[in-house]
C-alpha cells in the first residue's frame, strides 16, 4: 500500500519530494520519514554542541532501561559520536531492580542493544548493592511506598555503576514531556529548589558524576516515531501506579493536543523561575555509612535500608520527625505551613525516570 496516500497533493516541507509521514509538534511542519530522521539527529547534535555537553576523550555512560528513550538515546549518541567525531567512549549502564518479569525482559533488550550498537554494557543490581531485590522489598512493605525505594535506590545505583565504569558523565533519556511534567509537579508541591534545578540540562557538575539530558528539548512523540526503526521494550514499572504523576502527564498531553508548543513553554517557565535568597539550599556532605553524597548524616538509601534490615520498613517514609532525619529536606526555613511540614516526605516521590 502506498504510504501516506491520503495526504494528497502535499509533499514533505523539507525535501519537497516525498509524501509527509509525520507532523512535527514543535514546528507543525509536515515531513517525510527520511527528513525526520535527519532533522531529529541534527537537532540533538546542535543541543549537544550549544550546551557543551561533552569533551573529546570523555567516557560517557548512557543510563539504559530498555525503554524507548534510552534506546533511542544510545543509538543516536553512538551515531553522532561516529559522524561528528566527538571522540567519546560510550557505555550502557543498566540497573537490575530485581522485578520478575519486568526487568528480565527489558534487560534482554539492553543486551541486544549492546550487540547492535557495539557499546559495552554494565549491569548493577539492587541485590548486589543493597542485599534486597525490589520483589523482596515489596513483600515486606507492600505496594504503597515501594516507589520511594525504587527512586532512591535507582538513583544511587546509577551513580555507583557510573563509578565502577569510571565514566566522566552519565546521560539520561529524559525528554521534553518528562521535563514539563516535572516542572508542573514541582510547582504543585511548592518545591522551588527542585523547580529550577529540574530544568537544567546538566546537573551535579560539582559532584562526582555529572548527569545530562540531551533530549531536554525533544518531544516524546518524536522519540516514538524515531524508534519505530529500533528495538525496544515497552512497559511501565509494574510497581508504579503513581496516580498523581499520571494526572500531570495527562494534563501535559491535553495541553499538547491544543497547542503543541505548550511543552516547551512549560520548560521555559521552569527555567525562568529564580530561587529567592531566603530559600536555603541544603549543604552537601557525605553519608557516614556509605560515602554517598548526602545533606544528612545518612543518605536516603541507607535510612531506607536500615528500616528494611531492622524490620521497620516505614523508616524514612513515616511521619515522625525522628524518622526523617535521613531524608534530604530542602526547605528547613520554618516558613512551611504545618501541614506541609508533617506530610510524609518521600511518599509522593515517584519511582521511575524523572528524579535521576
Amino acid at each position: 500500500m502506498e504510504e501516506g496516500k491520503r495526504a494528497v497533493g502535499r509533499l514533505c516541507s523539507i525535501c519537497s519530494q516525498r509524501r509527509p509521514a509525520l507532523k512535527r509538534p514543535k514546528t507543525l511542519e509536515q515531513i517525510c520519514r527520511e527528513c525526520f530522521y535527519a532533522v531529529f539527529e541534527e537537532e540533538i547534535h546542535r543541543v549537544i554542541m550549544e550546551n557543551h555537553l561533552f569533551k573529546a576523550g570523555e567516557r560517557i555512560a548512557v543510563a539504559a532501561s530498555g525503554g524507548k528513550d534510552s534506546t533511542v538515546l544510545a543509538y543516536v549518541l553512538s551515531e553522532l559520536n561516529r559522524r561528528h567525531d566527538y571522540g567519546l567512549d560510550l557505555f550502557l549502564l543498566s540497573v537490575d531492580e530485581g522485578i520478575t518479569g519486568y526487568r528480565d525482559d527489558s534487560l534482554e533488550t539492553v543486551k541486544r542493544n549492546e550487540i547492535q550498537y557495539g557499546l559495552p554494557l554494565k549491569v548493577v543490581s539492587y541485590k548486589d548493592l543493597y542485599g534486597w531485590t525490589m520483589d523482596e522489598i515489596v513483600k515486606v512493605i507492600g505496594l504503597k511506598n515501594n516507589c520511594t525505594f525504587c527512586g532512591v535506590f535507582r538513583r544511587q545505583a546509577l551513580d555507583r555503576g557510573a563509578a565502577l565504569l569510571k565514566v566522566d558523565k552519565l546521560v539520561t533519556g529524559h525528554n521534553a514531556d518528562d521535563m514539563a511534567e516535572t516542572v508542573l509537579l514541582n510547582i504543585l508541591r511548592g518545591d522551588i529548589a527542585r523547580l529550577s534545578r529540574c530544568t537544567f540540562i546538566m546537573t551535579g557538575e560539582d559532584g562526582p558524576i555529572p548527569r545530562c539530558k540531551p533530549f531536554k528539548y525533544t518531544y516524546e512523540k518524536e522519540i516514538y516515531a524515531y524508534f519505530k526503526k529500533l528495538d525496544y521494550f515497552s512497559t511501565e514499572c509494574i510497581y508504579s501506579p503513581n496516580a498523581y504523576r499520571g494526572f500531570a502527564r495527562e494534563f501535559i498531553k491535553d495541553l499538547e493536543r491544543i497547542r503543541p508548543q505548550a511543552i516547551l513553554d512549560i520548560i521555559r517557565s521552569g527555567e525562568d523561575f529564580r530561587i529567592s535568597s531566603s530559600t536555603r539550599m541544603p549543604d552537601q556532605g557525605t553519608c557516614e555509612r556509605c560515602g554517598y553524597i548526602s545533606s544528612q548524616k545518612l543518605c536516603k538509601a541507607c535510612v531506607l535500608l536500615e528500616g528494611l534490615n531492622r524490620g521497620l520498613p516505614k523508616l524514612g517514609i513515616s511521619r515522625t520527625r525522628e524518622a526523617i532525619n535521613g531524608s534530604e529536606r530542602l526547605h528547613k526555613t520554618g516558613r512551611l505551613p504545618k501541614a506541609e511540614a508533617e506530610r510524609p516526605i518521600l511518599q509522593s516521590k515517584p519511582c521511575g525516570n524523572l528524579e535521576f
Binding site: 491520503r6 509521514a21 525503554g67 516514538y224 512497559t235
Partner: protein, 99 residues
Amino acid sequence: MQLTLEFGGGLDLLCQSVKIHHVDVTPNVENGKLTLRDLLSWVRTSLIKERPEMFMKGDSVRPGILVLVNDCDWELCGGHDTELEEKDVVVFISTLHGG
C-alpha cells in the same frame, strides 16, 4: 472491511493482552464508507474489554495516544475524518507510560 489494528505502549492490556488484531468492520450502511471516527467507536464497543477511559476521552482517543494509518501520522491523513480502506493498518500507541 478487513483491517489490521495494532495496540502498543500498554494499550494491548485493554484488549486481552493481544497486540495485533485482524478485524472485519462493517462500513456505514448509507455511503459504504468507514472513517477513523467510526473505527474508534467500533473498537470501543467491540474490542476494548476493560477501562475504556484509558483509550478514549470524549469521542476521541486520549491525548498522548499516537495514531498511525499505514505508518502515517493520523493528523496528516485527516484525523477523525480519515477514510479507511480495505487492508489498512491502524496503529495505536500510548505514550502515557514508562520510558
